[in-house]
Amino acid sequence: MRADRTAGLAGFLDAVREELGLDLTEEQAGTDIDLLPEWDSVHLLRLVMLLERESGRAVPVGAVLAARSLREIHALAAGGPGDTR
């Protein structure tokens, strides 16, 4: 099986940039997603599909919808407790 490049936050952000075409800095990973430039709610489900494709694991959509930042979403996908700050 190929390595999950989204396992680390940096790789995850790279994948987000590619998949969603967003220009994101690492600092913006902690920003409230609604405040990200060019953010659209359409992106959330794309993110879920991206994470599932890369990790080979199901991602709980309800929790992703409730997450407030990309860092939190990444933590959810990684299976650990999210950083809720």
Partner: protein
């Protein structure tokens, strides 16, 4: 990631995407020219390109490139349409169009499409897309529901869609595209009674069929049947997208729908491609003729040959509907002629092709040659070849021509050929069915021309008969089609869709005229139209378009000369005419002045208004025999 996506990102990151917009269509053509990549991957990457392009503001692109053709597209639906934006933008950009998308309010498609003051109708879209999924029926059902409830819900939906189509017919603009509703298992299997479940399937399909049949009543309406798209690229829905994002259709189906919808727009704008240029070795037959010899190639009913036979049958089917076929092959001409004439397994024969270019010149030159002989623009060609390098050459050197990437698996050739609706047209006319015959006659004419003598002498020997009169009812589609297909001799560049042509013919102030031409080589049929209008003591020519098949034979002069004589005989004071310069009709700029029309002094820019005072009327060219009947017979519209 392909070069295209990477380059688009670089353009975006360096703030040059608007300035670089003319590059976009070529980049996307490169992205889709992938014969052996899974379709889903290509669609996904195209969708990501769309995501980058969707953030461009049309006005920024127009500031750099004011001539970029803009496509205003209105999008609405029963549920969310946000997931459609990126694939739709990508598909429009593939065709060189600059998208201006106007989206409706969530779930308000009925108001969006029937209220004349809604933003979707006010923007005067060239294409209106209303996306429907099973939820358009399902949302109306309250548990516990029965099949009869589902049928009633469907009937209410059909009533609403009737109203939408009628409103569009009354005062809408452009093409209207609806979709059929795929039937999801999660709906059928809520019914445990197996007979009732079968009945639900029957009701569902009957209602979808009624929706599809609406197109017969409304010429501006196209209903995209989602069943074949689901069969090819399904599943139809994604439960999470449906419930969390209110998107009734899966991303793959939305991508496929976007592709179909843009071909509806192309067809309506007269961008239907005219000629399919086919490679031979490993395209129409298995093997390389030069190496394997005629006995070593296969295209018959054998394991090796069957995929190629299938492609030949599909090409023949397209040809029967007006698609011209040609060959461009790197081969010696003699052996190719031999196979086309004698090979027992060939479905296509020399007669099926309007041009066979077998030789060693580069294929871009061969394609230009084919277009030149047919008198069509090179961008009306579609080129199918299994060699990536040949396709790349054509993409770079014949801008606007479409390429069909044929891969290593010949069994996929047919799907590749039909993946894009390059030859889709609103209606196939009798003229389409006889097109090959017309081009054959054209080849005979050029032989006469090449036989020597002056051009005058050639024209006299042709014995051209010109017939001009109001169109008969069955000719309206052809009149409209000509307005869509003519570019070089379309004096305003304006298109008249079928429903407008019918309205125009029913208006007593209008004087639409059909131009028919025949000569010693055959009947060219209805090849042009003059759209004139009576206005008090004057007659105005609002537009005049003529097929390139009959250009340079004085037909256009004969038509206007007859019209001027008619105006004078009726005691009218003048004939007005209008010319609007387009990118393709540059050579017609001097047409009206050459007949004695005088331009209005105040005109500047693209549009010129002319007036002829009828004092001196040029006679028709001497080599033409003209039959003009401006009143029409009883069958006239």
């Amino acid at each position: 990631m392909t070069v295209a996506l990477e380059e688009l990102r670089t353009l975006r990151d360096t703030g040059r995407l608007a300035a670089g917009y003319p590059r976009v269509a070529a980049l996307l053509a490169e992205l889709t020219d992938t014969a052996d990549r899974p379709d889903a991957e290509t669609a996904d990457e195209l969708r990501r390109c769309g995501g980058l392009l969707a953030r461009l503001r049309p006005q920024d692109v127009l500031a750099h490139h004011p001539d970029t053709p803009v496509a205003t597209v209105a999008v609405t639906g029963h549920s969310g349409t946000a997931q459609l934006t990126d694939p739709l933008v990508a598909e429009l950009a593939r065709h060189g169009l600059l998208p201006r998308l106007v989206t409706g309010d969530h779930g308000a498609y009925l108001r969006d499409l029937t209220d004349p003051d809604s933003p979707l109708r006010r923007c005067g879209p060239q294409l209106t897309l209303c996306v429907l999924g099973a939820d358009a029926v399902h949302d109306e059902l309250r548990a516990p529901w029965t099949v009869a409830d589902a049928e009633q819900a469907w009937h209410r939906l059909l009533d609403r869609l009737h109203a939408v189509a009628a409103a569009h017919h009354a005062d809408g603009t452009g093409a209207l595209v609806l979709t059929t509703l795929p039937l999801p298992r999660r709906l059928t299997h809520q019914i445990v009674d197996q007979q009732q479940r079968a009945l639900l399937g029957a009701v569902w399909r009957e209602c979808n069929a009624r929706l599809l049949r609406l197109t017969a009543e409304h010429p501006a309406l196209t209903v995209v049947d989602l069943d074949p798209l689901v069969g090819e690229s399904g599943p139809a829905t994604d439960p999470r997208l449906a419930l969390y994002a209110r998107s009734a259709l899966s991303p793959a189906i939305l991508s496929a729908l976007a592709r179909e919808a843009v071909h509806v727009l192309r067809a309506r704008q007269g961008l239907t491609k005219k000629c399919l240029v086919l490679d031979l070795d490993n395209t129409l037959w298995d093997g390389v003729l030069g190496d394997d010899g005629p006995d070593g190639i296969a295209c018959g009913a054998t394991l090796r040959g069957e995929p190629y036979a299938a492609l030949q049958r599909v090409a023949k089917q397209l040809a029967a509907q007006g698609v011209l076929l040609a060959v461009s092959s790197k081969n010696d001409p003699g052996p190719v002629a031999g196979v086309l004439r004698d090979h027992p397994d060939m479905t296509l024969r020399a007669d099926d092709f309007v041009s066979v270019q077998a030789g060693w010149q580069p294929k871009d030159a061969a394609l230009r040659d084919i277009a030149g002989r047919l008198g069509i623009a090179a961008d009306a060609l579609v080129f199918a070849d299994d060699t990536a390098a040949e396709r790349a050459l054509v993409r770079h050197r014949v801008p606007g021509a479409a390429v069909v990437p044929l891969g290593r698996e010949p069994a996929r050739h047919v799907d590749r050929l039909l993946a894009d609706g390059w030859f889709d047209t609103p209606t196939v006319t009798d003229d389409d069915r006889h097109r090959v015959r017309h081009y054959r006659a054209a080849a005979d004419r050029s032989r006469l021309r090449e036989a020597g003598g002056s051009y005058e002498q050639y024209l006299r020997e042709l014995g051209i008969e010109l017939d001009i009169s109001p169109p008969r009812r069955h000719e309206l589609h052809r009149m409209s089609q000509l307005s869509l297909r003519t570019n070089q001799f379309n004096l305003t560049g304006e298109r008249v869709p079928p429903e407008r042509m019918a309205a125009l013919c029913a208006d007593p102030r209008q004087l639409p005229l059909a131009v028919r031409v025949r000569d010693r080589y055959g009947d060219s049929g209805l090849v042009g139209a003059v759209l004139a209008r009576r206005d008090g003591a004057a007659l105005h020519i609002d537009n005049f378009f003529l097929s390139c098949r009959v250009l340079a034979r004085g037909v256009e002069h004969g038509c206007v000369s007859a019209l001027l004589a008619h105006a004078r005989d009726r005691g009218l004071s003048a004939v007005g005419a209008r010319h609007r310069a387009t990118r393709s009709n540059g050579r017609t700029r001097g047409f009206y002045p050459s007949l004695g029309f005088v331009p209005r002094a105040t005109d500047t820019g693209e549009e010129t208004h002319y007036r002829h005072d009828l004092a001196e009327i040029p006679g028709p060219p001497g080599h033409l025999s003209v039959r003009a009947d401006f009143e029409g017979d009883t069958d006239a519209c």
